[in-house]
């Protein structure tokens, strides 16, 4: 059981290191970095590599934004398997709605509760 914590720490950390290198070495803006990682996640799922990574690293693979691309692709492919080409579009948010819905709900609640502060 302990090993899942180590692997999640290391794998999650390494994905972030890739992000940092994209920002510092490739000089990408944060937005471009995140977009690249999301696209990478969905491609990795397409070739079937991301699911084993989740099995290996648990939250280390599901918490980084790459899992967002993976989950979208996974939903689309699962639905396509059942319903053919139409499923590609309809299945997209089947599995990944939680991230977006949580962001929307907590975004609005955050706006109700807080004001931004210009401190260091």
């Amino acid at each position: 059981m302990i090993s899942i914590y180590i692997t999640s720490f290391i794998v999650g950390g390494l994905i972030c290191v890739i992000g940092q290198l994209l920002m510092d070495v490739a000089k990408l803006t944060p937005a471009h970095t995140l977009v690249s990682l999301v696209v990478t996640g969905s491609v990795l799922d397409g070739i079937g590599w991301y699911e084993p990574l989740i099995d290996f690293a648990g939250a280390g693979a599901t918490i980084p934004i790459t899992s967002f691309g993976n989950a979208l692709t996974h939903g689309a492919m699962a639905e396509a398997e059942k319903h053919g080409l139409v499923g590609v579009v309809t299945g997209m948010f089947e599995v990944t709605s939680s991230g977006i819905s949580a962001a929307i709900i907590f975004g609005l609640i955050g706006a109700l509760l807080f004001t931004s502060k210009g401190n260091v």
Binding site: M23, P30, F114, S116, K117, G118, N119, V120
Partner: protein, 338 residues
């Protein structure tokens, strides 16, 4: 042939200044004791950042007026600017003051460009009293040019911190024993192909260098004529490059060079390369430099404010950052015998 040179024969005078700043500046700025008014709330207890921004400028003007014992009705022109889209804080200030108004935009160089315009109006005898100045408010500028305030982005060592501050200066006809405006140089827009909006100092340094050289050659000055040559908001990185460029241009030493942006937060590393914003140069020029002129610690100074003329749109469309620098020369007469 050097263009953009201005000499003011009548030597218009600076009668009074007013400087306001926000709570973070009160806590962190080394110039805080010199400011006329500091607020406890970053929005000046008003609902929005832009309202607070307007209040900063408005109060700075009223402070300058009260020091000169003048009413807004006596002022002929109000020349000011800021960094918010369409300069609404300045516009609303002008509306509240009801002084004939021209909004000026030279980004962070507005402090000097407004003083140059004011000096021209006074020198041409078109006006007796002109209020100039500029302001910036951290929250309002950050959300417009960069990210939401609470958004986490890692700032590099070259990033600068937009100050919450405003400076207003009352300019009128020549009077002895006041700092007077001798001459000025209007800069050209210089673009050295820099694209990083988090490294504005190095984008602005060539503009500052160009205007400095034009001013020195055009008006026949050397750097030793000045007690200080103070740039607006190059920040530590831009200032370093500016000094290197000066050496390259044959200026032997840079010991009397200062940079308001670098000094503003006293090299506090959490502010990275230092301060920026149109309020930065205005606040330092009109508090520290002005007061040192009144005590005759400085007898001749060159204010060299720099501005990066970019917008979030131009940056996103892949344009480089065009920059400008304006110079204005102030002097104080020797102590007059009573």
């Amino acid at each position: 042939m050097i263009r953009g040179l201005l000499t003011f024969q009548s030597k218009p005078s600076i009668y009074a200044t007013g400087v306001t700043a926000g709570p973070l500046e009160k806590k962190k700025s080394v110039f805080a004791p010199l400011f006329d008014k500091v607020y406890e709330d970053e929005r000046c207890d008003l609902p929005t950042n832009e309202d607070g921004h307007k209040q900063l400028m408005y109060d700075a003007v009223l402070i300058a007026l009260s020091k000169a014992k003048k009413q807004p009705e006596k002022i002929d022109f109000f020349l000011t600017g800021d960094l918010v889209n369409q300069m609404t804080p300045s516009n609303f200030t002008a509306q509240a003051l009801a002084i004939p108004y021209i909004g000026l935009f030279s980004a962070c160089a507005t402090s000097v460009s407004s003083m140059i315009t004011a000096a021209l109006l006074a020198d041409a005898k078109q006006a007796n009293w002109i209020m100039a100045g500029s302001s910036s408010q951290h929250n309002a500028i950050e959300r417009q040019f960069r990210y939401p305030l609470e958004y986490g982005s890692q700032k590099g060592a070259t990033a600068q911190w937009t100050v919450t501050a405003a400076g207003a200066v009352l300019i009128g006809q020549h009077k002895v024993d006041t700092p007077v405006i001798d001459c000025a140089t209007v800069g050209k827009v210089i673009d050295m192909g820099m694209t990083d909006p988090l490294n504005m100092g190095s984008a602005m340094a060539p503009a500052a260098s160009d205007t400095l050289m034009n001013h020195l050659t055009g008006h026949g000055r050397t750097i030793d004529d000045y007690d200080t040559i103070i740039t607006g908001d190059l920040g530590s990185n831009g200032f370093k490059i500016f000094k290197a460029l000066a050496n390259e241009n044959g200026l032997p030493h840079t010991k009397n060079f200062r940079d308001a942006g670098e000094e503003f937060y006293g090299n506090d590393p959490s502010f990275k390369a230092g301060a920026s914003g149109s309020g930065c140069s205005a606040a330092v020029f009109l508090s520290d430099v002005y007061q040192k002129m009144l005590t005759r610690e400085y007898k001749r100074v060159l204010l060299l404010a720099t501005g990066a003329l970019l917008s979030p749109l131009s940056f996103q469309q892949g344009d480089t950052i065009p920059c400008i620098a304006h110079a204005i020369e102030l002097s104080m007469n020797e102590v007059t015998a009573e």
